[in-house]
């Protein structure tokens, strides 16, 4: 059947045609372990095997050979009804797809199959190509929240996309999962409304992970108009929101947030005490020296170290100014 295959491989390639599933399993496993690139064609054929286990091992074996001719046959596995087959094929394709495969992906995303669409949206993140944008946009209005979430996530992986008005609405999506990703993606967009939307999400969203992500995204923009909102978020009920807000304030802050940061020096969570101390050091106002001094006997080593550094930093600046 395969005339050009070497003697070592041949018995296993033949065994792969056996009617007994046990034999086909042994054959496909052995071919996987041999890792011989000549076996690629019979292995691709084994993707059609009726037995799911044979199929899955064939996917793994093909993956290990990393031959680009396998991209199309593996794509077909993305619509499999078996979750494990889809997952294995997706993992293999994450490694195999290259920018040259963009058109195959864009073809496939138009197929009316939920799994195919979801998986292709994920694969597009490996290619970073802005040409995919028109194909991603329709999914912002999909009925399925999984597709909206995947699409808004993929958007931030597309290079050269600076503004995207249709994406902004998703920060108010009904699903928290979609809003979390939308908030992160807005960190990379430069639409005019972005800062205001992020500040509203930071202070008003009912989901704490959205609020935390908003703090992270604001750090990317470094926009000082957000300072008053960040000040409010320093007293958020969830500690991770307070922590990421304090971190963002390490980048952009002014004297107006000093009282709120000082309050954080006695926060229950050590991460916040540390991050607030760093932010105070960066602001550099010597009035906080005495209160920073008090944190030097904090039970947490990180807090002590970073407080000391903040104190040193402020003192150094003082010396420079005085000279």
């Amino acid at each position: 059947m395969y005339d050009d295959i070497n003697d070592e491989l041949n018995p296993w390639v033949e065994m792969l045609q056996s009617s007994a599933v046990e034999d086909r399993l042994v054959a496909v496993k052995t071919l996987q372990h041999m890792g011989d690139e000549e076996a690629i064609v019979p292995l691709i054929q084994a993707l059609e095997d009726e037995d799911t286990s044979v199929k899955k091992i064939a996917i793994t074996a093909i993956w290990e050979l990393t031959n680009p001719i396998a991209v199309k046959p593996l794509m077909a596995c993305l619509r499999s009804p078996d979750a494990e087959v889809r997952e294995e094929a997706l993992s293999a394709l994450k490694e195999l797809v290259a920018p040259a495969d963009l058109l195959i992906l864009l073809d496939a995303i138009e197929e009316d199959n939920f799994y195919m669409q979801l998986n292709v949206l994920i694969l597009l993140r490996k290619i970073h190509d802005a040409q995919a944008l028109p194909y991603v946009l329709p999914f912002f209005e999909s009925e399925r929240e999984e597709l909206r979430e995947a699409a808004i996530t993929t958007l931030r992986y597309l290079n050269q996309v600076e503004t995207c008005p249709p994406a902004l609405a998703l920060i108010n999506d009904s699903s928290a999962v979609v809003r979390r990703e939308a908030t992160l993606t807005l960190g990379y967009l430069k639409d005019e409304e972005v800062i205001e939307l992020l500040c509203e999400a930071l202070t008003d969203d009912p989901d704490w992970q959205v609020r935390r992500n908003a703090a992270q995204s604001i750090a990317l923009h470094k926009d000082t108009s957000a300072i008053s909102w960040l000040k409010k978020a320093l007293s958020d009920e969830h500690w991770q929101v307070r922590k990421f807000t304090a971190r963002t304030l390490q980048e952009i802050a002014d004297d107006s947030v000093i009282p709120a940061l000082v309050k954080c020096l006695t926060d229950e969570y050590s991460d916040i005490r540390r991050d607030a101390a760093i932010a105070l050091g960066n602001i550099g106002n010597p009035e906080v020296l005495s209160v920073l001094q008090q944190t030097l006997d904090d039970p947490d080593a990180d807090v002590r170290i970073f407080s000391q550094r903040a104190i040193d930093k402020i003192r150094q600046q003082q010396t420079t100014v005085n000279q």
């Binding site: 034999d23 399993l25 052995t30 372990h33 091992i57």
Partner: protein, 75 residues
């Protein structure tokens, strides 16, 4: 010299009803080479008590016949 045979709880358990006689997958991947085929039954078993509980045998088995437990002394 006198030797005794001591019972040991072994980490690698093979379900013989699933183990395929022609298959060598687990034996080939074991870094410590502790698995062999029973020549009478053709089924794999753990012959040497030297398991690092690293799991390739379990993951590579095409019929999920293998379960690796954490060795008793560490469990």
């Amino acid at each position: 010299m006198a030797l005794t045979t001591q019972r040991v709880d072994v980490p690698v358990i093979v379900d013989e009803s699933k183990c395929l006689e022609k298959c060598q997958a687990c034996i080939e991947v074991c870094p410590l080479d502790v698995l062999v085929k029973n020549p009478e039954t053709g089924k794999a078993y753990m012959k040497y008590d030297e398991c690092w509980f690293c799991l390739p045998c379990e993951k590579e088995c095409p019929t999920n016949a293998i379960t690796v437990q954490i060795p008793f002394l560490l469990r």
